[in-house]
């Protein structure tokens, strides 16, 4: 069963995302959390992650630098990454996709929007 890594500097946002995923009935084995891109890289390397949800604006290492580092690492570089961020300009979305992000969702979002987006990567019970 899938393990999902949620990277966001807001603990409340990490909890909200988890709650929506659980209420959406997706099959999830475990949630792993990280508060910035650096911690995200460590968690991605040390556990078998199947999907990464990643914020953009974070201290220490931003989400875009995280994606670039992950894709450049060779190791685990094929895990799907969905950016979940307030950055909503076309330029930023392009930049994320060119850097290796698979999906993009802008904050704020409704539970349905998150559910639809994650339906491309997760199975429902």
């Amino acid at each position: 069963m899938p393990k999902v890594l949620i990277i966001d500097d807001s603990a409340v946002m990490r909890k909200m995302i988890q709650r929506i995923i659980q209420q959406s009935g997706f099959l999830i084995d475990e949630f792993v959390e990280a508060g910035d891109g650096k911690e995200g890289l460590e968690k991605a390397a040390s556990s078998n992650i199947d999907l990464i949800l990643c914020d953009w604006n974070m201290p220490n290492m931003t989400g875009i630098d995280f994606v670039k580092a992950l894709r450049g690492s060779g190791l685990k570089s094929n895990i799907p990454v969905v950016m979940i961020t307030t950055e909503s300009s076309e330029t930023r979305i392009e930049e994320a996709k060119n850097s290796g992000a698979n999906g993009y969702l802008t904050k704020p979002f409704t539970p349905d929007q998150l559910k639809t987006k994650l339906g491309n990567y997760l199975l429902v019970k």
Binding site: A11, M16, F109
Partner: protein
């Protein structure tokens, strides 16, 4: 564009972004009124959630609210009734400020070039003032010192029978 009219248009974007946020994630009623200029000596608040931005224009977008309202917002976001003002409540106010400022920034950047947004900063106390006294106030030292003479363009909101405000400080950056 004159700074005043740009500030008016950003205040309208702030109201829009806040409305969208409340409709999607906070799910509480929301009403707002026209933005007005407020001298910082008139501001008294328990909680300040602020995000600064830099680019062709630089400034601050800050949410001012009571502890009671901050608790209500955090409780709604977490779907649990919080009664104590914990770090989680501060985190929720920081993320709310971040989501509002982030969406305002995207609109601003589309017209005036790329902008950088800071990580949100949250300050909580009782009856806080944001006035800089010889620039020694904790708030003034970090982001507001250069603005201490400028009035805030403040949009008043009402939700859940509580009033809160979102203010804007803006200046054109020197080249």
């Amino acid at each position: 564009m004159a700074l005043e009219s740009l500030m008016e248009s950003i205040a309208a974007d702030i109201a829009d972004a806040t409305k969208t946020l409340f409709e999607t994630m906070i799910l509480m009623d929301l009403k707002y009124d026209d933005a007005i200029l407020v001298d910082d000596t008139q501001i008294r608040t328990d909680v300040i959630g602020m995000v600064s931005f830099t680019g062709r224009y630089h400034g601050v977008i800050a949410l001012f609210c009571s502890k009671k309202f901050a608790l209500k917002i955090a409780s709604t976001m977490l779907m649990t009734e919080l009664t104590e003002f914990t770090n989680e409540v501060k985190d929720a106010i920081g993320e709310v400020s971040n989501m509002i400022a982030g969406n305002v920034k995207t609109k601003l950047a589309a017209q005036h070039g790329d902008m950088h947004l800071s990580i949100p900063m949250v300050i909580a106390g009782e009856g806080l003032s944001v006035t800089a006294v010889n620039n020694h106030s904790a708030v003034a030292d970090t982001t507001l010192s250069c603005f201490s003479k400028d009035p805030w363009l403040m949009t008043p909101f009402i939700s859940n029978n509580e009033m809160f405000n979102i203010g804007l400080l803006l200046r054109e950056s020197t080249k």
